[in-house]
Symmetry: none
Subunit: 417 residues, 2 copies
């Protein structure tokens, strides 16, 4: 089987000049890799006609699939569409369906369709229009001589929607791709090197056609098995077998599999056990609640939170005893235990969680340096408290503490009688 | 003056396959842009000799400066050095100074120098060694026929140290560079095409040496002026003059300049006017509080929030009247006004904000489709309510509503007597 190669091409001065971070191409690489298409090059060029046309021609020589993002806005510095029109020698024609879609898009938002936006519906005659249900610029799919050019908006959620709904299925259909099975095992609470030591022997014994990758991110490590073969069924069996061996070794750190992040796993646990949750978050400032409520349907188990950022609010709205705050301070085991217990009682939930810490850069003392964080879990029977010593960076402390709290919910529920 | 062009080249399968995010090239672009070197292309290739050699040759045709990162590790899949050796037809020779440095580096960490690491000190004879004080792979500076090739490690802090201490000063010395001044004007509350129409005449009248770029992101649009010239002072004056003309046209949407996002601008406004803030956020689920508290020192003006995710909590913890909820529902002007007013009173703050809406996918009714959101501002004198009709996607609704609330804080404070 001939391998299928892809090149990713981003267009726009804003990426070349470093004004925005390109998060698109990493995501696209992963998606292509998952279906067996190999990315051989990534190229970024600016808003210049010659540069763009050269990049098209070079990419077409190297790759079977050229995925283009950016340069589709309505303004005069957006050149992708005129360049594609020139490259494919195909004039722009008003696409009636696209026009209806962009008109409806504006109408649904109560906004007037401007002439600039109307022109976004004019597309090269040679392309197939790909619907953009979450934005104004349609995608364009060009198929010539077994080479695919696909142009998408640079806005990440618009691009992702188009990739998932249209581009990936079309590519799978168009090219003969190898059989690949990925299995992602999601762990929380330990770092990459700790896990690597725990599973070293297992990793060494993996068969040649199964590869392991560590994908660490803030507060968690994903393990990805990539299995190459002939029969998807057989690969799935093998992946499940290997996963079972992993569970024997590091099962207590595994919170889930596949795409679902920890907040979704927590949501499932709470729903299954018919439990409700409330949170008193101080140093995390709303981030834990944001994660919990990012999950559709979370209102079934999440009752609400209080963010008591000052001493006054901790006392008046959460009933923390003034003596506790005075004697031990806000960042202490005594206060965190009261916070978790009180929010649980006041919000009438099964579980109450709490965070309090020195996120930094201010607020530190010699005994409580930046990164000192207390978290707590409370239910009908008990209170679990935990002290964390995190980093010196505010945003890291907020994120890492949030992940630790979500893990503590998981552990608390698991050990619940 | 002839412009100086740069190309950024990253080498390594881990970037092509999407296993790591490339944060280097954004930073490098900004640094080069700041000293007047224009990045005309970014290229990523994998660990393959032919791909790397081709990329070198192509880059040398296009650019004056080729900055290479990655592929300098000690293992056999690290190919940048052998490829440079081949490309410059220059054999590897042990560099005694580099050997001393890598030996000292290992000694200082109490580690044994392996043969693999020793070989990291062998460099092509044609290059100048650039010290790497924080890692084991030295940089390599090649200067031929007015083209500069500079190879650096892919580890971000090693690359940054090398760029700051050696590469940028050398480039400034080597090339005659223009004077450039950037000015970023940050707007909120209107889309790119609305702004583009409002400032079309102004944009058309911009002098040739001042360029405008639109940088839209969720809920805001940044306008960047890039001014080219001879005298920095004069460029700053011109940028300020053009900014003044922009203020005349779209001043009410401008919330700030430069690097600070809206949550920082709000924080400054609140601090300056000595005002305190509390929030009752329902549909945004903690996201507004998270943004407010992401700012160091926010505890000076932010008292806290309540996230009343259920009817019960809205009534019990926020004092929303049962009649209001029953008659108008949680997503209504009546409820949102009570929420903002009550959180302000209960938390004893100058300003109280509130959000309530159908984030989706569930919870919609024919009269209140997904994306219907009410937001409110309350202070000592008045309550402002606003209805938004956003998108069909939960995470977008949360983000866009959050940006709208932050903008409403700004507008409320501005109009405050």
């Amino acid at each position: 089987m001939k391998p299928t190669y892809a090149e990713l091409l981003t267009i726009g001065d804003e990426i070349l000049f470093g004004q925005i971070t390109d998060t698109n191409s990493q995501w696209m690489s992963q998606q292509l890799s998952d279906i067996g298409i190999k990315v051989i090059r990534k190229t970024s060029v600016g808003d210049q006609v010659n540069e763009i046309l050269n990049a098209f021609a070079e990419a077409e020589k190297r790759a079977d699939v050229i995925l283009i993002t950016g340069g589709l806005g309505p303004t005069s510095d957006d050149l992708t569409k005129p360049c594609l029109s020139q490259y494919f020698n195909s004039p722009l024609v008003m696409n009636e369906e696209a026009l209806q879609e962009v008109t409806a898009f504006f109408k649904s938002r109560g906004r007037e369709l401007t002439e600039l936006n109307r022109q976004q519906a004019a597309l090269p005659a040679a392309c197939e229009k790909i619907t953009n249900p979450v934005g104004t610029a349609p995608g364009m799919w060009f198929d010539r001589g077994n080479k695919i050019f696909m142009s998408m908006p640079g806005v990440p959620h618009e691009m992702k929607r188009m990739m998932r709904d249209h581009v990936l299925p079309r590519l799978k259909n168009k090219f003969e791709l190898p059989v690949i099975h990925h299995q992602v095992i999601r762990t929380i609470g330990q770092g990459e090197s700790f896990l690597a030591e725990k599973i070293a022997n297992w990793e060494k014994a993996l068969p040649e056609h199964i590869k392991l990758a560590y994908l660490p991110s803030l507060g968690e490590v994903k393990l990805r098995l990539t299995c190459y073969g002939e029969s998807l069924e057989k690969l799935k069996e093998e992946a499940n077998h290997q996963t079972q061996l992993l569970i024997d070794r590091i099962g207590s750190y595994i919170y889930g599999y596949g795409e679902d992040p920890i907040e979704v796993a927590i949501g499932k646990l709470l729903s299954e056990k018919n439990l409700t949750l409330s949170i008193a978050e101080s140093c995390t400032g709303g981030n834990v609640s944001r994660m919990i409520t990012s999950v559709p349907g979370s209102s079934a188990y999440f009752q609400g939170s209080i963010i008591p950022y000052s001493y006054e609010i901790k006392m008046a709205q959460l009933g923390i005893k003034p003596e506790t705050l005075q004697e031990y301070g806000a960042v202490s085991e005594q206060t965190i235990a009261e916070m978790a217990t009180n929010v649980r009682t006041r919000f009438h939930t099964n579980i109450g969680m709490a965070t309090s810490g020195i996120a930094g850069p201010g607020g530190a003392t010699p005994e409580k340096p930046v990164g000192t964080v207390w978290i707590a879990y409370a239910d009908e029977q008990r209170v679990i408290t935990k002290k964390l010593q995190l980093s010196t960076e505010r945003h890291l402390n907020i994120q890492l503490a949030s992940m630790a709290v979500l893990n503590l919910i998981r552990l608390g529920i698991k050990e619940r009688k």
